[in-house]
């Protein structure tokens, strides 16, 4: 949580220069995927490879959450038989993966984006519509490569 406070401190100190929105990619249907196209505003701040890697990992995580397979069927049937009371005790698979994703986003922010004056917003806070990247004004410390 200390990192969170430091990020907030950065937010307090730095002014928001711009916000970039990575939209959803529907070419595979309604599954939650984000466009991996590198936005031009980030060119000066971060490596293209790095960014695309982040988005690709996110996409994989969301795919795992929505995967149809043995485990999801088992969970669905169990839930139905217990009249969904089982979810008073345990989380759904999707919720578990969402927790994993939020941890990943935080980790990426700490390691890669915050030092470059950028901040990724967890897509769940935007209704899984966009990945919001906040670009802070470039101060002297922590300028991007």
């Amino acid at each position: 949580m200390a990192e969170t406070h430091s990020l907030q401190d950065i937010r307090q100190q730095a002014a928001v220069a711009a916000k970039v929105f990575i939209q959803r990619d529907y070419t595979n249907g309604t599954v939650c995927q984000f466009q991996t196209k590198f936005p031009s505003e980030l060119e000066s701040r971060i490596d293209k490879q790095q960014f695309e890697e982040t988005v690709r990992t996110l996409n994989n995580l969301y795919a795992e959450a929505e995967k149809l397979g043995g485990q999801s069927y088992l969970e669905g049937c169990m839930a139905c038989l217990t009249a969904y009371t089982i979810f008073l005790c345990m989380e759904t698979h999707y919720e578990k993966v969402l927790k994993k994703i939020s941890k990943y986003v935080q980790e990426q922010n700490d390691k890669i984006y915050a030092p470059r004056g950028l901040l990724l917003t967890d897509p769940i806070e935007r209704g899984l519509r966009v990945v919001e990247v906040i670009i802070f004004e470039d101060r002297s410390t922590g300028s991007g490569r």
């Binding site: 406070h5 529907y26 009249a83 759904t92 999707y94 919001e132």
Partner: protein, 443 residues
Amino acid sequence: MHLGVADPMRDCEYSQISTRSSTPMESPHKKRSARRKWQAFPGRNKFYCDGRIMMARQTGVFYLTLVLIVVTSGLFFAFDCPFLASSLTPAIPVIGGVLFFFVLGTLLRTSFSDPGVLPRATPDEAADLERQIDMANGSSSGGYRPPPRTREVIINGQTVKLKYCFTCKIFRPPRASHCSLCDNCVERFDHHCPWVGNCVGKRNYRFFYMFILSLSFLTVFIFAFVITHIILRSHRSGFLNALKDMGLSGFHTYLISSNQTTNEDIKGSWSSKRGKDNYNPYSYGNIVTNCCAALCGPLPPSLLDRRGFVQPDAPQAAPPTNGITMYGSTQSQNHMCDQDQCIQSTKFVLQAAATPLLQGEPPTPPTSTPNLSCEPDLLPPHQEGAPAHHHFLTPDEAPSPPGMLPCSGPPLAHSHTLPFYSPASQDSLHEDSVRGLVKLSSV
């Protein structure tokens, strides 16, 4: 939050990332006074239980659905299940109960959960999208709405148009639609169901499906076992008797089929319970003939001739009174009154005559009469001869002022008559008794 079951821990996590507050002192204070997101929700939904339950605005029909299901099932459990459990198997109410709770559970889950509402775009997002669209369209002059904004996507070889929602300020994902009743974009929008009081979308479609499926099973179950119940009862006491239990039309169908009246049925006039040889002599023997006779038989005419004219000289029936006319009764009453008065006054005279012989002292006059102290010499006027009466009025003359009259009457009459006459009627009675005395003495 989007994720169904409320989890306060998760709420904490998200708000920690998104909160802008720096000092730890401030954040708890802000949390306490800050509103929940559902209170600021822009769509037309109703929220209950502090945001855990989400429904559409019009919920009246949902309550009707609930009432119909509960009442029908309740009646089934109350009236059919005891009989079926005892005559067939107790598994019937058990299975019925499980089905009933499953139906209720899925209904509530469908109605109370978030159907998959897409949150509206934040202002930054909306601005960014507008910019992108403007760039794509070329610089269009402001002041008029640009043509409907669409984006095309190729999904598995099919070209799908994504529409822009002006209310939510987003490009709708494929299969999403904006519900005008709830004023929300809903993912994988199926329809807005008034029976359930909510939209049916991505997140509650499975519950909706299980609700309607289990409800069909429950309906079939109840119907089948109600029929079974009737069949079993009719095996025991005859089909027609079983009809009796099926409501008013069933009851009268039974009556028509057996050619009985309600009265006869209630009294059990032709019931076999009265005696083995007791049967309905009016029945034609079979149901069809009985029904035809009741429903298709000849319709007899009215015997009343309601619109015919009354004949003046025709001997009439007794008028609709007690037979005593007013005129007659008053006459007789008057006659009776006169007779009564005569009798009463005679009674007074006799009593008065008897009084001095029986009692030594003059009887105490009643307190209501004004002239209590009557002179003793007034007492024996009736014993004297005729001339004494000239002090008093002759019967033919008008009565004397009331002041005089009571003097003669009360000591004589009231010793015996006090308990019988009320003070109000004493004046007229005094008059009568005096007249009576005068008459007698004048003989």
